[in-house]
Amino acid sequence: MPLVIGVTKELTPGERRVALVPDVAKKYQGLGAALLLESGAGSSAYYQDEDYAPAELAGDGLSVLQKADVILQVQPLGVEALQQLKAGTVLVGLQQPWSSAERVAVLRQKNITCFALELLPRISRAQSMDVLSSQAAVAGYECALIAADHSPKFFPMLTYAAGTIRPAKVLVIGAGVAGLQAIATAKRLGAMVSGYDVRPETKEQIESLGAKFVDTGVSAAGTGGYARELTDDEKRQQAEKLGRAIAECDALITTAAIPGRKAPVIVSAEMVARMKPGSVVVDMAAETGGNVAGTVAGEKVWIGQTLIIGPTHIPSRMPVHASDMYAKNLYNFISPFIKDGNLVLDWEDEVMAGACLTHAGELRHAGVKQALGL
């Protein structure tokens, strides 16, 4: 009996991605694995059941959960779904480990081997498995488009028969993967872009895209490519300098995040109040609380004459490519351990071991253990 890899429809509302795309399905089959797909799993991302052939199709998600040895998912499975799994099932996908106490209990109890790609060590070799990066790239691009689309102004400079329109000013706060992508996209559209981040090395990175760096004199270099939280004093200084840049811009895109925590609030209500009429804010961090005071996740709110957009499920706005990237990341993560139709995990592998949330009834990840108080 070869390894059965299962994929279900995503149940989270607003989620349109799928953890397996036809191209990648063929590769799994090439490794000798059998595929079990809930019928219509890819349809929200425009992938048709027949494209996955010769994967086996299941009429409902339940049978997939019950039969599969490995389950690929985008959003974490709910507790009920987890209860359906065979003992020893391997789960691969995003698991929101920092808010997973209840799920972890079930995972341990059912002896499920759960890989949380949020925990993936950020080493060079793991880049091709890094769903956070790939989905952040999608999100950054989308947020820039949302900003341009909602702005009541042109982004590019435009000389026309009766005059000249100066280019819009776009400010991007947080220059991680998503922020840089947003900068690049806004630049492409012709806007005058500045970028800001607490990590000092981002200055060169922002400038390498032809944008300006807003220098506040505050640095928050953390470890592993992530940022640390700032002290209050630093926050005040940052706020002062940033406030000015924010007041000047026509569109503001915020992408700041600190892994495992609520997103930092960087743009205060007072800053928003100083923005120009008709300015637009896209808060990419809305789902984790938002970088901007007043953001409501999933809504567009007006604060004075400023529109604050708090988009959620951003990669789902681009399900075809977001799924494609996601599925390839998962494949790169798990495929080294599939040999001749069998899954042989190698606990010596630092990437695999590092991304493991639970295995054999244990919560394996120290950071998560601490965060959940277990």
Binding site: L158, T159, Y160, A161, A162, T164
Partner: protein, 458 residues
């Protein structure tokens, strides 16, 4: 002996200085150093010549030098920049005259050794005399002293016959065992006449080429007389100038798109020029001149138009602008409201090429600046710089505001040919006195300009 050695050595140094001087003058960077070096060589050679043993007539010599030198120096200082070409012509003619006079002295002394020396002396005399009288005519024409272009009925035939006769007389002098003063006299008269006859029919526009040719002639003449008198400094300087001058003449003729033969030999079929365009002629210039004009300008305004878009030349244009800026030139872009074929057409392209927004100005912002610009570079634009929009009520573009490119000191227009623009009308700007056309698709034309700008910035 020591004196002779000193003199020879000085001549040697002078010769080197002349060569280095010319080399210097062939690059804008070192040109001024070049003339100074050559000047030092000249002073050195002149001063040591006074030390030559066995010389007489020092008073006369000093008088001649003072007189000739002073008059030339003062007139050279005073003359307007625009009258420079004729001054070059006349000074060059004097050099040719001097060479001829030296030959005359040698003939008068009757001391020539051997056929070769006589041959060289005669050749030098011929060339020098032609250069002398021809240059005087060239000067007279450019100066406006002589107005019309005189043309004999069978100009070419007359030229050739006269030349053959002169050469025959010269040959007779060379072959004759002793020097016959009559023959020599006739020879000089013929040679001088030849210079006049050749130069008379040549029109003003071709004059620079002819002057350059006479310059090469004088060089050769000086070189030949140098052989006759055995002074290597004269030989080297003369021949180097002769060779350099010949090349230069070719280059100039090429830059003007006129083969030298066309200039010297009058076309057989009737009158030459005759207005083909109503308001004058489109004057072409080469990429190198365009490059030099901009490279040595203080301010250049670039006016892009639809042609730049068609050629996809925006990257090249920006590269050129960057190079010019590195060289200290101020470069800005002037975007006309309706340049191209859609609102913002030029913006899209310039953004694509990476031109920073601060360098881009619209019509209202920039129109006052053209008068202060040394060069307006119009790239594939036509209607948007057509002055008839200002004045000609019948023009389809009457009333449209235009970019005042015509107010710049120099206008360079890059286009492929005589194509009109969107409105399909002629553009008087292209025929203006201070406008030059750089023909070619913009991408390639600007590419060439870039190459030359780089060469000038070494």
């Amino acid at each position: 002996m020591a004196m002779k050695w000193l003199i020879d050595a000085s001549y040697f140094v002078a010769a080197i200085l002349f060569i280095l001087g010319l080399k210097g003058m062939s690059s804008p960077v070192s040109a001024r150093k070049g003339i100074v070096w050559a000047g030092v060589g000249m002073v050195l050679a002149t001063v040591v010549t006074f030390l030559t043993p066995g010389m007489n007539n020092f008073a006369l010599m000093l008088l001649a030098i003072t007189l000739g030198g002073a008059v030339a120096w003062i007139s050279g200082k005073k003359v307007a920049m625009t009258d420079m070409p004729q001054m070059v012509a006349i000074y060059n003619g004097m050099g040719g005259g001097a060479a001829a006079a030296i030959a005359a002295v040698e003939f008068a002394r009757g001391e020539m050794h051997g056929v070769v020396v006589t041959l060289l002396a005669t050749l030098g005399a011929l060339i020098g005399a032609v250069s002398f009288s021809g240059s005087v005519i060239a000067w007279a024409k450019l100066q406006g002293v002589m107005k019309k272009a005189f043309r004999l009925p069978a100009q070419n035939a007359v030229n050739i016959v006269l030349a053959l006769v002169t050469i025959a007389v010269g040959a007779a002098i060379v072959i004759a065992p002793t020097i016959d003063p009559l023959l020599v006299g006739a020879f000089f008269v013929l040679a001088l006449l030849l210079g006049v006859i050749i130069t008379l029919p040549i029109g003003g526009a071709d004059m620079p080429v002819v002057i350059s040719l006479f310059n090469a002639f004088t060089g050769l003449a000086v070189g030949f007389e140098g052989f006759v008198m055995g002074i290597p400094a004269l030989i080297i300087a003369g021949i180097v100038v002769g060779a350099a001058g010949t090349l230069l003449t070719q280059l100039m003729a090429k830059a003007m798109n006129r083969p030298i033969s066309n200039i010297l030999f009058v076309p057989m079929a009737g009158a030459a020029s005759g207005g083909e365009a109503v308001e004058g002629e489109q004057k072409e210039l080469g990429a190198m001149d365009a490059a030099a004009l901009m490279r040595y300008a203080s301010k250049v305004i670039i006016v892009p138009g639809y042609g730049m878009a068609v050629a996809g030349a925006q990257h090249k244009v920006w590269e050129m602008a960057e190079l010019l800026e590195e060289a200290g030139v101020e470069v800005v872009f002037a975007i006309h409201p309706v340049a191209g074929r859609m609102p913002g057409h030029m913006n899209v392209l310039l953004a694509e090429a990476g031109v920073p927004y601060e360098k881009i100005f619209d019509l209202e912002e920039i129109n006052g600046d053209f008068a202060q610009a040394d060069v307006a570079l119009v790239i594939g634009a036509n209607d948007v710089v057509n002055p008839s929009a200002r004045t000609d009520k019948s023009s389809p573009i009457y009333g449209m505001p235009i970019l005042n490119a015509d107010l710049a000191q120099n206008v360079i227009v890059v286009k492929r040919g005589k194509g009109t623009g969107y409105s399909g009308i002629e553009n008087a700007l292209f025929y203006k006195e201070n406008t030059r056309l750089l023909y070619g698709s913009a991408q390639q034309a600007i590419g060439e300009v870039i190459q030359h700008v780089k060469a000038m910035s070494v």
